[in-house]
C-alpha cells in the first residue's frame, strides 16, 4: 500500500513538475517575444503622436477606431469587428482662462481646465468671492448663507503618506466628481477643484464630474486648477478673504454620437464558446495624448493577441481583445459589451484590464472568489522571475466591471503607481512619459496571465489546481 502511494505521489509529482516546467518555458517565450520583437511601443507612438487625444465623439476617437481595427486586421486574428455604441459628446471649446483678483486690484493668471461634462461659464465668465473648503461635507455644514453667490474652492490634497497612489486618488476624487452638484444646491455660482495629483506643478488635471439630478438651470460651471494655482489661491485667501476668482470656459455638451468598441478574436481550439477578454479603453481625455491613460492599455491588449499569434500559441478558449470606447465620461463601451454578451449568452470566464498606466508592472489585482484566488496565488513562483510580486484582491478595471457575475474572474494589471497621477488627465500625459521596456513588460505579464488562465480554468468560475511546486 505504501509503495502504491509512493508510486502515485512520484507519478503525480513528476507530471506536475513537467507541467509547471512547460508553463515556465511558455512564459519565457512570451517575454522574449514582447521584449525582442514587441509592437506595443511603436503602436503607442502612432496612437499618441499621430492620432493624439481621443475624447469620445472626437475626430481622434474616430481615427483611433479605424486605425486600431486596421492593426488588428493585420495580425491574423480569426475575427475583427466594430461593436456600435452611442457615446456622449462633450467639447472643451475655446481655451479656458482664469485669474485671481486680490483686494488691491491686482490679477494673477492661474492655469485651469474645465472638468469633463461641465457647462460653460454663463454669460461668458464668472467672477465671485471664493470660499475654500476641504470636502463636500463641509459645504453642507457651511450652508447656503456662506456658500451662496460664491465660487467654492475644493482644496483637499492627495495624501502623500498613502503608498498606493490609487488609494490616495480615491480619497479625494469625490471633490471633482460631486463637488459642483453639492455646491450648486447651496447657491454657489461656480466650483474650482484642486487637481488630483501629488505633484506641485502648473498642469490642471481634468476628469469626469456629475450634476446628479440637478436641472440644467441649477447647474454651475466646474474647473480644475493646477496644484501650484491652488496653493497660490489658498495663500491669497488667507491674506485677504475678499479675494475674488475669475474664470471663463466655453465647454459644451452635445447630443450623443455613434462610436464603436473595437474587438478582435482568436477563436478557442477546445472551448470556442468560452471567452476571455483582455482590454483597455480607446478614448482618452483631450489635454494630453492619452499615452498612459489608456493608450498603454490599448497597445498592451493588442500585443497580447499578437504575441500569441507570433509564438504560435493556440488558446483553448476564445481570446478577445476589446478596445472599449468611452470609459472616461460614460462607460458606454464597457456596458454595451457586457449587454451584448449577456444577450448572446456568451460565457465569459475571465477578463483582464490594463488601465493604470504603462509603468513597470508590479502584479495584478483579482476580483474573484476565495477558491479561485487561492489557486491563482499558487502561480506566483512562475511570475516572480519577472519581478511580478503583487497578487492581491481588489478591483479590476472599469470597462470589464459590467462583466462581473456568473463566476467570471476579473483582473487588473497593477503597474507601479508612483508617477501615474503626475500625468493623469493632464497635458503631460504624453508619449515621452512612457518607457519602452516598462510598457513591454506589462504586455508580457498580461499575456502570461491569459496563458495561465487559458490552461487552468477548468470550467467557468472554477480554476483547476495548479501543479506548481515552490
Amino acid at each position: 500500500m505504501i509503495k502504491k502511494i509512493l508510486i502515485l505521489v512520484l507519478v503525480f509529482g513528476v507530471s506536475a513538475f513537467a507541467k509547471a516546467q512547460n508553463d515556465s518555458i511558455q512564459i519565457r517565450k512570451i517575454y522574449d517575444e514582447a521584449l525582442k520583437n514587441g509592437h506595443s511601443y511603436e503602436w503607442l507612438d502612432y496612437l499618441s503622436t499621430h492620432i493624439g487625444s481621443r475624447l469620445s465623439g472626437s475626430l481622434g476617437a474616430e481615427q483611433a477606431v479605424d486605425w486600431t481595427k486596421e492593426q488588428l486586421d493585420s495580425i491574423g486574428l480569426d475575427k475583427v469587428w466594430l461593436q456600435p455604441v452611442m457615446v456622449p459628446k462633450w467639447i472643451r471649446g475655446v481655451p479656458e482662462y482664469a485669474f485671481i483678483e486680490t483686494g488691491i486690484g491686482e490679477t494673477t493668471k492661474v492655469p485651469i481646465c474645465a472638468l469633463g461634462g461641465s457647462i460653460a461659464t454663463p454669460g461668458g465668465y464668472v467672477k465671485a468671492p471664493v470660499i475654500e473648503v476641504q470636502s463636500v461635507e463641509e459645504i453642507e455644514q457651511l450652508g447656503a448663507a456662506k456658500v451662496g453667490g460664491k465660487i467654492v474652492f475644493f482644496n483637499r490634497p492627495m495624501q502623500a503618506d498613502v503608498i498606493d497612489t490609487f488609494k490616495a486618488y480615491g480619497g479625494c476624487v469625490d471633490q471633482r466628481y460631486s463637488g459642483a452638484e453639492a455646491a450648486a444646491r447651496y447657491g454657489a455660482v461656480g466650483v474650482i477643484v484642486r487637481s488630483v495629483t501629488h505633484s506641485l506643478d502648473d498642469y490642471p488635471h481634468t476628469g469626469s464630474m456629475s450634476y446628479g439630478d440637478l436641472t440644467p438651470a441649477q447647474r454651475i460651471p466646474a474647473a480644475a486648477i493646477s496644484t501650484n494655482g491652488a496653493e497660490l489661491l489658498s495663500t491669497l485667501l488667507k491674506l485677504n478673504p475678499a479675494t475674488k476668482f475669475f474664470f471663463s470656459m466655453g465647454c459644451k455638451n452635445l447630443p450623443d454620437v455613434q462610436s464603436y468598441n473595437v474587438i478582435g478574436e482568436i477563436t478557442g481550439s477546445e472551448f470556442p464558446d468560452r471567452y476571455m477578454v483582455v482590454g483597455g479603453h480607446l478614448d482618452s481625455w483631450d489635454l494630453g495624448d492619452g499615452s498612459h491613460d489608456d493608450g498603454a492599455g490599448i497597445v498592451q491588449s493588442m500585443e497580447v493577441l499578437r504575441i500569441m499569434k507570433s509564438i504560435n500559441y493556440k488558446p483553448k478558449h476564445s481570446i478577445r481583445v476589446v478596445l472599449f470606447m468611452n470609459e472616461e465620461n460614460g462607460l458606454r463601451g464597457g456596458r454595451e459589451y457586457a449587454e451584448v454578451a449577456r444577450n448572446k449568452k456568451e460565457k465569459h470566464v475571465f477578463a483582464l484590464e490594463s488601465d493604470a498606466g504603462g509603468f513597470t508592472p508590479r502584479g495584478f489585482s483579482f476580483d474573484s472568489d476565495d477558491r479561485n484566488y487561492n489557486e491563482i496565488l499558487s502561480w506566483k513562483p512562475l511570475f516572480e522571475p519577472y519581478f511580478i510580486h503583487l497578487f492581491t484582491r481588489g478591483g479590476s478595471g472599469a470597462d470589464i466591471g459590467p462583466l462581473k457575475g456568473d463566476g467570471t474572474v476579473l483582473a487588473g494589471l497593477r503597474p507601479d503607481s508612483q508617477r501615474y497621477f503626475d500625468h493623469h488627465h493632464a497635458a503631460n500625459d504624453t508619449f515621452d512619459a512612457v518607457n519602452k521596456r516598462e510598457l513591454e513588460l506589462g504586455a508580457a505579464a498580461m499575456t502570461s496571465l491569459i496563458y495561465m488562465m487559458d490552461n487552468y480554468i477548468q470550467k467557468p468560475g472554477k480554476l483547476m489546481t495548479l501543479p506548481v511546486k515552490e
Copy 2:
C-alpha cells in the same frame, strides 16, 4: 508540562506580537516623515541643479563635499567630518568630435564621448578603417592581421530579454572596460564602444575603462558612441567595409588630487563602538548632473539620518552616513573608508548602499551568510505594505564592498531598474528624470531597514531571531 509549554508559547507569542507591532508602528512613522516632510528631493535639486556634475577632482566634486557637509552639520548629528582621500583626476577637455566617412567621401557626424580614463587622440585625431566585433574574445580570434591599424568597433548590445537590466549591463560592459586594452595588444589605433543602454537614442554613455598593464606608449584612445550612431556605423560598414571612422578627443589624465569622503554620525546609545553605514557616492560622471548616479543615493543616505533625528529615534548602534568619493573611476573613497575602519578596529556590523538610481524601490539585495539571510527574510511582512517585495541574495554596492568580512552584513537598495540605463553615465542623467515620491520611498525603505538592523543585530555578524508572525 503541557500547560507550562502552552503558557510559554502564549507569553512568548504575545511579546513577539507586541514587538512586531511596535516595529510596524516605527516603520509607518519613518514613511510618514519621508513622504510628508522629506528633504531628499530638495537636496537633490540643489546637488544636481546648482552644483551639477561631480567628477572626482573637479570643482563640482569639491563643492559637493562642502555643501553636503554643511547640510549634515545642519541636521543635528553627533559628529560630522571629512575623511581625506587622494583621487585620480581625468578631464574631458575640448568636446569630442566624430564622423563616419563612407567610401564615396560623404561624412556623417555621430555623437561620441571619451571613456573615463582614455588618452586623447594622438596628434589631434584618429582616422582609420573600422572592424566591427561583438566581443573582446573576437579580437583574439581575428588577431593582429585583421585588427592592426584599425579602429575596433565593439557593438554587442545589451540583451533586451534579460529582465534585470543590471544583469544585462553586466553582460556587455566588459567591452567598455577592457576593449581598448585588448584591441591595443593587436595593434588597433582606437576603440569605439556601443553605449551600454537598451534605449535607441543619440546619447553617448561614458564610464570607466582600463588599459591594464599597457605602457603609456601602447595605449589607444577609446570612446563610446550613441546606440543610434552604432546602428548607423554598423549599417554603413555592411554597405561598404572600407568605411572609415574619424574621431578627435582632448581628454587627459592629471596627477591625483586631494578630496574627501563626507561622514556624519549619530552615536549609538547601547553599542557606540559598533557601526552601521548607509551611503552612496558623491562623485558622478561629467556629462549629466548625476541625479540618478548617484545623487539619489547621496540624498537618500543623508535622509536616513535626518529621519531618525526628526522622529526622535535614538539608535542603539552608531549610524554613519558616508558619502563616498570616487566610486566611478577609482573607488578610492570606499577603499579608504574601509582601511581607516580596519586600522581603528571599528567594528562594522551592517552597511547599506544606494547606487542603483532614484526609482521606486523594489527591495534589497543582501550579501550575508545563510543564517542572517533567513532572519532578514522573516522581516518581509513588515515591508510588503510599502510595496517592498524583493529580498534577494546578491551584491550590495561598490563603495561598501571593501567592508566585507568579519561577518558584516552588506545590503544594496534595489530600485526598479528598467529606466536606469537610459540615463546612466549620459547627459540625460538629470534632475527631471527623478520622481519625488519614488526617491522618498527609497529613503524610507532604507531607513526602515537600518531601523530593523539596529534592533535585531544581537552581535556582529549574527542577527537575533525576529518575532514577526506572518
